[in-house]
């Protein structure tokens, strides 16, 4: 091998496979969707999460995260992005995933609580 360079760049696209919308859980409870990659999420309380990757770091390509990850939980980018594009930041990730915790009881917009959700109002059932 004379010369080589390694760089993973993510871009944006419209997949052209439009249909029924994804479910709420499909996004709000998915580590893959928010950009963490394949793996599982554990709620640690007080708005904090733990992400356990299901994908081993790609040793062959000498990177320390799975190929499916673009950011970590703090929102730190792990890959390059096409100019003008970024992954979610830490705050966005936490906000999205926080809604995921509500979805077990308030499944979707058919629930009046979801429709008129007061962001500041604490949940009487769920203990932060």
């Amino acid at each position: 091998m004379e010369k080589e360079f390694k760089r993973i760049t993510w871009s944006f696209m419209y997949p052209h496979n439009t249909g029924k919308a994804r479910t709420c859980k499909d996004c709000h409870q998915s580590a893959k969707t928010v950009g963490l990659g394949y793996g599982s999420l554990t709620y640690l309380g007080k708005g904090r999460f733990r992400f356990t990757p299901a994908e081993a770091p790609s040793e062959l390509l000498e990177i320390e995260h799975g190929l499916s990850a673009v950011v970590d939980l703090s929102g730190k980018p792990l890959v390059n992005f096409r100019p003008g594009v970024r992954g979610f930041n830490g705050k966005e990730i936490r906000q999205i995933l926080r809604v995921g915790l509500c979805l077990s009881c308030h499944r979707d917009f058919s629930d009046p609580v979801m429709r008129n959700w007061p962001p500041r109002k604490p949940c009487p059932v769920f203990k932060e």
Partner: protein
């Protein structure tokens, strides 16, 4: 005596026409004396002359003289301003198309060079036309020349071997469909109703949009299932195996690429853009909210609003399709105001993880722009391919789908 004899011989050998052939406009077109082909309604035989498109000399039936200066493919961008784009027919189109991204490939070239660290400017000038005329090269350009260089409008039709033969051709890359009688040698038909296949002939790699739209997925290429010792998976013309996934709802409704993608996007609007997203006009909202105008204000004439309902007249089938309005709660809820439609409505996207390429300098490979074998063979690899829930991210403060690449 000898001269008279020669004149007699010449006369006997000359195949005279039975009459002077004229077009509907009264212009002479002697090509019709020998040629019986008909290139479809829009350019009907006897209305548009053969030489109007194919050049040559329409005033003689002497084969050699008539065929001098002829072009087999009038759509070729090298001649298009004298043929398709001539002042009497489609003036200005050739110039527009030449500036469009499908002709320049500026987006592909610039992105590639930028990603590979060869240039700093993401909006740099670049065009296939220049690369074809010069020997300009670099690692990214060499890669482009050998692997990407088959999908652009400057490629002469039937120049490259195998399945690549059908690509390119300028105007006819899109506007030509096979003639009706498949057994005989018939003239292909020119059309504005561009079928899906014409677009997907090129738009089937990278984001694989042409495949996903039809419900095809280029999988891991095992060719499974194996039946009677043979790969039984569906196969594309280029040999890639595909599996079935649910197609796009618009595909199911009988819509094709040109239903959404307007002329200004596909043929260019006269401006030279650096990237696809700049030339893109269509939005989901243009139809689904019934505004009937693109991002740049182009009117969508096939959209009709009747009694509060929105209809789209499909361009190929002519059928009127009812257009669903966005869900008043889920789509319009303020918490989702940053979401693009596709971030929810596209459940899956092909994702090619760990894409990498290798250049072997000992081997040679065909440069698709100079049509010469040059040193350096490029091979493509990937770690794994998935059709899976998309990862989301942000662009211009909108939530969009992110993919590797």
């Amino acid at each position: 005596m000898l001269a008279m004899f020669a004149a007699l011989i010449q006369e006997l050998r000359f195949k005279r026409a039975d009459k002077v052939y004229t077009l509907a406009s009264g212009r002479v077109d002697m090509c019709l004396a020998c040629h019986k082909e008909a290139p479809g309604k829009a350019h009907a035989r006897g209305v548009v002359g053969c030489a109007d498109c194919h050049l040559g000399d329409p005033l003689t039936v002497e084969k050699k003289r008539a065929h001098r200066g002829m072009v087999k493919n009038p759509g070729d961008l090298r001649v298009a301003d004298q043929t398709c784009g001539r002042p009497e027919c489609h003036p200005g189109y050739a110039e527009r198309v030449k500036k469009s991204l499908m002709a320049t490939n500026r987006g592909i070239i610039t992105t590639l060079r930028y990603y590979w660290g060869e240039i700093e400017d993401f909006h740099a000038e670049a065009s296939v036309e220049t690369l074809m005329k010069t020997d300009e090269t670099s690692p990214a350009l060499d890669y482009f020349r050998k692997l990407c260089g088959t999908c652009h409008l400057w490629l002469p039709k039937e120049k490259l071997p195998g399945f690549l033969k059908k690509k390119g051709g300028g105007c006819v890359a899109c506007h030509l469909i096979p003639g009706k009688n498949k057994d005989k040698k018939v003239h292909s038909i020119l059309t504005r109703k561009i079928p899906l296949e014409n677009c997907v002939r090129c738009h089937n790699r990278s984001g694989r949009i042409g495949l996903s739209y039809q419900g095809l997925y280029e999988d891991e290429q095992y060719g499974a299932p194996i039946e009677e010792g043979e790969f039984a998976a569906e196969e594309l013309e280029d040999g890639r195996f595909v599996a079935r996934i649910p197609p796009d709802v618009h595909f199911k409704a009988g819509m094709v690429c040109v239903d959404c993608h307007t002329q200004n996007e596909t043929m260019g609007d006269g401006k030279a853009y650096a990237h696809f997203e700049e030339s893109l006009e269509i939005t989901c909202e243009a139809c689904h909210e019934g505004t009937g105008r693109t991002r740049k204000g182009t009117l969508l004439t096939n959209l009709k609003v009747k009694d509060g309902k929105i209809y789209w007249q499909a361009k190929l089938s002519g059928k009127e399709l009812e257009v669903k309005r966005p869900d008043p709660v889920a789509c319009r809820h303020p918490v989702h105001r940053r979401l693009t439609c596709e971030s929810c409505h596209d459940q899956r996207v092909p994702q090619c993880f760990g894409c990498h390429v290798r250049r072997d300098p000992r081997e040679k490979q065909l440069d698709k722009l100079s049509f010469k074998e040059t040193p350096g063979l490029w091979e493509e690899f990937r770690s794994y391919m998935r059709v899976e829930v998309p990862t989301l991210g942000v662009r211009e403060d909108k939530v969009v789908i992110l993919v590797p690449g």
